[in-house]
Symmetry: D2
Subunit: 345 residues, 4 copies
């Protein structure tokens, strides 16, 4: 099969011919890839930023947002059959540790992450586990949902964690209306009565934000913090969902947060640096949000099948992966980039 592999950091991916993976273990599943999302993390991997953290050995295949069809199953697989259309949860989990047993599978003690620390889905086939696949509603196709497997999953996870405090009359500030943010807005609108205020420097992104459910949009132009304070009676918002986490977003976000409020850290890059006396006297909290659980992804697929969440995409053939990466890197890629193997669809 074809697989887009990284042979050396800072080099383009190579389209190599590889043996197809096989379902050897009892819970193994081989997925024929229908579509794979391109993520900014793929750029960071290529740049070597994850080299030490992941410990991966080059060469290997990238691609951690995958959907397709079940191609082969291990002996103990009961939840899917060959031919089923599936989305692939990005984490392979053991199912036996305490975290897995309480439904908190993203903290699995022995998990692995295809596309990050082992071969991923920029290929014709992907080896994963029965525990990582979710059958799709017949109305959904791999290319429409693949990028929800990581970007969307992180967004819904953050919204579900924020939800208990989001009563009517609350305001939620969404910082960043890009790949994750525009899914976060849709999840907020579908699951909560909160008033949604969206910040972004791009007018195009704010247009999309309004289309998908923002109640207010604010251009990041220097006066945006004041604008948000005016929209929130001078008090700030009860919840901040920060999908950016760099270039001053955190300082802005803290200034827009209401006393007693919750700041969700989702995007990353800069430091959170704040006097402890401010944390205490304002009684504010900072909540880290990782990618979501398996049941979070089920929930997201439900919202998508119900038409409440819709992902914006641009497609490329898998062979054009390096073009897609260049487009993403240079800001030419609108919506989420999706790679389609030759045989997909």
């Amino acid at each position: 099969m074809k697989a887009a592999r990284l042979h050396a950091y800072h080099e383009p991916l190579a389209l190599d011919e590889r043996d197809e993976p096989r379902a050897v273990g009892p819970l193994d599943v081989v997925v024929r890839i229908g579509a794979a999302g391109l993520c900014r993390t793929d750029l960071h991997i290529q740049e070597g930023q994850w080299a030490e953290k992941s410990g991966v050995t080059l060469p290997y295949t990238l691609g951690h947002e995958n959907a397709g069809w079940i191609h082969e199953v291990g002996s103990a697989v009961t939840n899917v059959e060959v031919g089923d259309t599936v989305i692939v949860h990005p984490f392979i989990t053991c199912g036996l540790c305490r975290a897995c047993r309480r439904g908190d599978d993203m903290h699995c003690a022995t998990g692995s992450f295809p596309g990050i620390d082992r071969d991923g889905g920029f290929a014709d086939f992907l080896l994963t586990s029965a525990r990582s696949v979710i059958k799709l509603d017949p109305s959904l196709e791999p290319k429409d949902v693949a990028a929800l497997a990581d970007a969307g999953l992180t967004a819904i996870h953050a919204v579900k964690k924020a939800r208990p405090v989001l009563d009517p009359g609350t305001r939620t500030v969404v910082i960043g209306a890009g790949g994750l943010g525009h899914i976060g807005i849709q999840c907020l609108a579908a699951m909560t009565p909160t008033e949604i205020v969206v910040l972004d420097p791009s007018e195009a992104a704010l247009d999309i934000a309004r289309e998908v459910g923002a109640d207010h949009t604010v251009k990041v132009d220097g006066s945006h913090v004041d604008t948000v304070l005016q929209l929130t009676s001078g008090l700030g918002a009860e919840v901040i969902l920060d999908f950016v986490g760099e270039q001053g977003a955190v300082e802005d976000g803290i200034a827009m947060l209401q006393d007693g409020g919750f700041y969700h850290v989702i995007g990353y890059g800069q430091n959170l640096d704040i006097p402890t006396i401010d944390i205490i006297s304002r009684e504010i909290s900072f909540i880290g949000d990782l990618v979501g659980t398996y049941t979070d992804l089920q929930d997201l697929m439900t919202l998508t099948a119900q038409g409440k969440v819709h992902l914006r995409t641009s497609t490329y053939p898998l062979d054009a992966i390096n073009d897609a990466i260049a487009d993403l890197d240079e800001g030419r890629l609108h919506g989420r980039g999706i790679l389609l193997p030759a045989g997909a669809g």
Copy 2:
């Protein structure tokens, strides 16, 4: 009446003769002070650290941890009668704003704080509100509980917020076994099944920690982080209650926190400074904890009456307030300092 007042920053308090306050408003309450706790915040006020934040005009009476007997009540007071023994919640709240109406009274939109921004309880009498007094169980005396009104209240509030995740098998690290910490340990032991690990540089403090319920004590000596990691299977604790918040406590605490865990910021002084990528990839959260609500103080009085919480104190006559302050400042004060007006008891 006598009142210990601050006339100028960096000066000793003066024991002035003042008119007794009167219950003029319908919910006003005048408390004859039985005992008032001395808090490190009183030193910080004297040093001028709160001058700008509180906006108070000098001279005024300090003392924000008060208990005593009801002396006079306003026309609409129905919850206490003259002669009742009471502890005084430190915050005077309106009862009508959204925060008050949902039981979150410490975020009252228009509250005031006797001893911080208006006359406090280092005096024979204190003017407060019916909404701020709690009748004491007959077994409790003002001098035994006064310092629970703020220090203890902050500790139980943090423990109540941490409690939902404190299942059997979890570990909680308590940083600092002083005035707040030794109450926090007792609240943890009374309300949760968590294993309690206490850190302090003082052997005397660790002795107290063991007496009041610590399962493990660890001297802060440079190897303490490693010791805690060994006690927690190398993973760190699910919850950190940081009653110190300065001199490196935060960096230590982050290193002792389990992935997915909750860091409660209670003590203050230094900054929290951490890369957002660590917050996300470890999915850790930082929870600010202010003083507790009125019902938190009711809960603390219940635990105290049941013998589950016991405060260690040293008493001084109110006239000796400047000696007490000096003892606190210079480390000679063991347990919590309690001021007794001449007529108390």
Copy 3:
């Protein structure tokens, strides 16, 4: 002033001339009535069903769903001013008991209920408390919201209690699409992603249900339980909101409830009668729902001002109260009946 009073059970109300109430206590508030909702409970009061429970002495003024303008305030009132447009929470609460202090004011130890156990709002003026009034958004008028003060408040309270389990993919069965039910449907749609299945014997009610947000409507015709089971993969719904509670609704509801699910009892009339072995082996729960809190009513007013909740009404002059009661009793009243005093509007 005019007041519609009950002089004897089973008799029509009399339109008596009465002295206007005055704001004597410090938190008293007199509201000039703009509109008052007519509730089936008013019929039950007239029939004597509440005589013993309320302990009220005849004659007295009915009307427990009130809205209007502030006419006079007591000396300690700070949250409203004369002239403000307000809705009136139906319960007068003390603000000082444990229940009030934790925001659970509907369990106030010493509350009273105008229109049930003291003079209500079928009159030109109503005496209530500063703690019971909520200022309305300028877009809202008394006649549009009065009936939300009790019927709507009960509906939103039930939805808020059910909300924590209502993830995407869940189904909620609403039994009864009448006065409470049609508000419940709108609250579910505004606050949760659950799929809403509505049951009613009336096609007209089901038409309204569809207009306000039902995903599925099922006519109560003998096969309705089977229809709901088919809609829910044979498993039943995660949550039942039973706004009927009589004539077999409870048996039907139990048959439509998923194992592990929650049955909310809101309407009443019949008994809940079920073997304890079924409660345990199915691990199902029955949740009683009373009228909501003050903050629940704030939330409902927010949703109404945002256009997410809209009440259907028919108006009558206060003088025609007995006609309105007859219309309600005999099924001629469509939407919620609203009484307008002569000077209203």
Copy 4:
């Protein structure tokens, strides 16, 4: 191997010679039984009460409270090794359905229950799953914990569900201080600050209740409801844990429940029969409690290893199973009956 099997309802068990089970499936585990608890449900099975519900085919081996040592493991088992000492969760779950994935494994869509609907642990060996075994702390032996696998697990599950409302100052009434109740009392004492009031008709049971943590004990003698109301300021308890569920316990329990309170149905036998108007006007809830999850059993093992929970037992050799059943049936069995196979220990 030896196995105590039921060949016909209403007949004694037969001690048959059977082939040892083998770990054929990848997650299969064979446990050499160290001890098996005898439960009143075993009597009910013998009496045929579960014949229809379980659908089991006779003959088969009883015994659903099991502990022992790992004897053989399937190819994909990673959490235990041959020789490990384990307790056996009573339910075999799939790990792949939605319920399992969110940690709610007792609602597994395709689970089976050894000792109820397939061969159980009154034998030398038991076939179960890697998902059902928990390694024991070295301080614990199978005979000390076996009966916690079902009776104790149900008790801790109920306490964990009740815990969020059990603040200081609350009261919990435990109805029945027998096999489940005496574990429930210990779990309440270890995990909550609630005041524990225990009811039982037996003085011996109340003696045990006091030893293990009851704050008050009340003999069931006709005046017990009044006694509990006196202990609770006339209001009743915030929580009832009813481990009896028959012979009038439910009517008593409802009379002892505070308005706004939670009634946990754990024991069973009679009906819950109550007017819906009482459920609503008192806003009370009835919570069904099934056996606990896998992580609940981990928690219970933690409390047991910490010495906070201790089970009282009487042991019998497996050959004497019918004597043990007779002793249980005729009230001669004190503590929980434990069967020991010939080779155990």
